[in-house]
Symmetry: C2
Subunit: 438 residues, 2 copies
């Protein structure tokens, strides 16, 4: 099924803050690619903001900017309204009115959805418009899609993870530098990772908003946000972090929900996480969300949890999915390979010889110093630099294994050198090589 | 948009091996949940297998089993054909014929897609049927959906990861136990993680199949499987692994593809991966795939890369998505919360007091032994067990921080005990507590 109907989708953006500006940038910069994938032209034709916008790195040629959201809502040519104002005042009015007019809505507004989910989703249900909110949880991580479409056959048993980049940034600094909470918060504010009023982030409220949204999706029910136990990270001391590490744990702000025979549990609080758990290695402003299903087992999705571009990626994904559906009624919205078959060509790869890699070389020798000298000289003759070296103690049968790291070099150059080295008597057996993953 | 048309989707499964049996089990065990989510009844009505099937843990009441795939293909009541035979002989015939008849197809067959992608996708394109192949890469990890729908607005710059559970299991054993390759392979075969003929897994061919599929999706072009540089793990020695660790690296079989100004690179070979990279901590038969986009930045998806139930989860996700579309022509296929709004109820959470957690307690004291004795006695009186203890050296201002781990206990019991402990003179300040994440 691949007939296309409408070919252009007009988007109106309410709010030109970091995410709003990022969304317009994405749709402008990646438009050729999006057209190849979807066959649809997606244009941001109107944006509403009450802040200065002239400095934004955006092409304003075909984009009318207004200070009234009503100008966007009342434009009959706009198909999709993107709400990026936040909060549950004006934002709520925009979303409900847009649905009422039969327009589709995309939002990143977790507070609004978590607190008013029944009202918002009823309004979406009663509208002919569609609703995208992937950006409300986990920034660019497509966790809403994974749960809704990927795990649609699974009974979800639990959801847990690090869902607030500010809190994780603070806990990471406290852990890495032994900083006190207040100093780590101040640093996060200076670097732009925490807002002037950080309450929602450090008290776990933002995480709780996200947990409620994921619970509603995963457990197929509505929940009362106020029933979620929510505790922040303000009482954590450096000594807690050091001691936890002695036990083999990191301290993370964890949002979690469990669906068991007893009922459904949802809570947000700091928690010790085993260093063997991948969540323990999530550093800085990143997010990671683990979902366990009765068939899929344990999964984890990791990525930037906030920020202009990652969040814009999620907003754009929703706009594109809605655009595909609006332009392809009666058929499959997304073709199996994303772009329609007739928009795909066959492309040649770069031959391996022309690629570059860093290398790890290993050889066995009775005399490591001599071996290193010989190999070093040969590599030097082939114009290949050498990096760090290590000798494995103790050796075996009077021989030692020696390893050298090689900075980035072309495959053909390295293979020529290896062929040459493998003919040398000073080394026992051939040289083992492994490329280094970047 | 929420009108439903057809209410039942009939599925025919070709191949009742581990994944085929798992898929039928999933659709039977989770059917009530899938009906709530989709409003659709999905029934496996026919299955073809040439092996014994009577022992399978499946309800055969409404399921006709045959030894001929033609019986499945020629059944006019079947909407979706699930091809789980593998290889590129009979499997290819099934898929092409199914598309030719206008049926939708779901498969886990990476070898077939990688080697014959243009033929298969042309056939899907020319058919009125839809095509799902999420299970072909990364088992239960919804990586196809993430790239196709989640990152649909991004220019994908690179894809890399651990995509073969057998090879990762072998490398993990070699790394953890110092085992030689051949012994690790034998162990993997005994435990069922490697097949009798492990060539595809250990020579990187299976990983290369998956890389090609992800490249075609991410870079929106077709590629020639034979152009991919492919090198396996058979030459890795325990000494390589030890030496790599001294440098701060693990050795993993990495499949990777890069899209740069120079062109497109794709390759599979063992590589050193920095221990700071999350890919280095992927152990055993798990998979993890990292995708970098020009807006979303770096992401990682982790989960079981193979096995009956995880792969069945991916197959079921595709069947469900196709079923939603087949039953809801003209509208949004997947409602925003997965289940239609009118199939969702409001549900109360279990109150926090009734939940259970493991706890980490920390207090400051001039005399750790006395402090531990007092706290231990108080907890014992409240019937709370205590676990491992640690003292932080050196102390501060003549005081030391002491930590105790508490096995699972109810929140109400722990809070009562904490209230009591906070009144004790022997401890300076209050007791800090952090729940332990499971």
């Amino acid at each position: 099924m691949h007939q296309d109907m409408k070919k252009t989708i007009n988007v109106g953006v309410c709010g030109l803050g970091t995410v709003g500006a990022g969304t317009v940038q994405l749709l402008q910069n990646n438009m050729a690619l999006i057209q190849q994938r979807t066959g649809v032209t997606i244009r941001v034709t109107r944006a509403a903001t009450i802040d200065a916008y002239q400095h934004l790195d955006i092409d304003f040629k075909d984009l009318a900017v207004t200070d009234s959201v009503d100008d966007v809502l009342n434009d009959p040519d706009i198909d999709v309204i993107v709400e990026l104002i936040g909060g549950d005042g004006l934002a709520k009015k925009i979303i409900l009115e847009a649905f009422d007019k039969g327009k589709s809505v995309v939002t990143a507004n977790k507070a609004l959805i978590a607190k008013h989910s029944q009202e918002i989703f009823r309004s979406a249900f009663e509208s002919s418009g569609m609703f995208g909110f992937e950006a409300s949880v986990g920034g660019g991580i497509p966790i809403i899609r994974s749960i809704r479409d990927g795990f649609s056959g699974d009974r979800i048993e639990s959801i847990s993870g690090i869902m607030n980049g500010t809190a994780n940034y603070i806990l990471s600094s406290m852990s890495n530098d032994g900083t006190e909470f207040n100093d780590a918060l101040k640093m996060a504010q200076e670097k732009g990772y925490a807002e002037a009023d950080p309450t929602f982030d450090i008290e776990g409220i933002d995480t709780a908003h996200k947990v409620v949204i994921l619970m509603e999706l995963a457990f197929n029910a509505f929940f009362d946000f106020d029933q979620l136990y929510t505790e922040g990270i303000t009482k954590i001391e450096p000594a807690d972090i050091q001691l936890a590490r002695q036990f083999g744990y990191a301290i993370k702000l964890i949002g979690q929900a469990h669906n068991s025979e007893k009922g459904i549990e949802g809570r947000v609080h700091p928690a010790l996480v085993s260093l063997n758990n991948m969540l323990a290695s999530v550093q800085g402003a990143f997010n990671a969300i683990s979902v366990t299903g009765n068939f899929v087992g344990n999964t984890l999705s990791y990525g930037a949890g906030a920020g202009s571009h990652p969040t814009a990626s999620a907003v754009a994904g929703d706009i594109i999915e809605i655009s595909r559906r609006l332009t392809n009624l009666g058929g499959e919205a997304t073709p199996p390979l994303s772009a329609s078959f007739d928009r795909l060509e066959k492309v040649d790869l770069i031959p391996m010889e022309e690629t570059e890699s860093r290398f790890f070389l290993r050889f066995n020798t009775k005399n490591p110093d001599e071996g290193l000298a010989i190999v070093g000289e040969e590599l030097n003759r082939k114009d290949i630099k050498i990096g760090e070296q290590q000798i494995l103690e103790p050796g075996l049968n009077g021989e030692k294994s020696v390893a050298i790291l090689i900075p980035a070099v072309s495959e053909s150059k390295m293979q020529t050198a290896l062929n040459h080295l493998n003919g040398l008597d000073a080394l026992s057996g051939s040289i083992g090589y492994i490329r280094i993953f970047e």
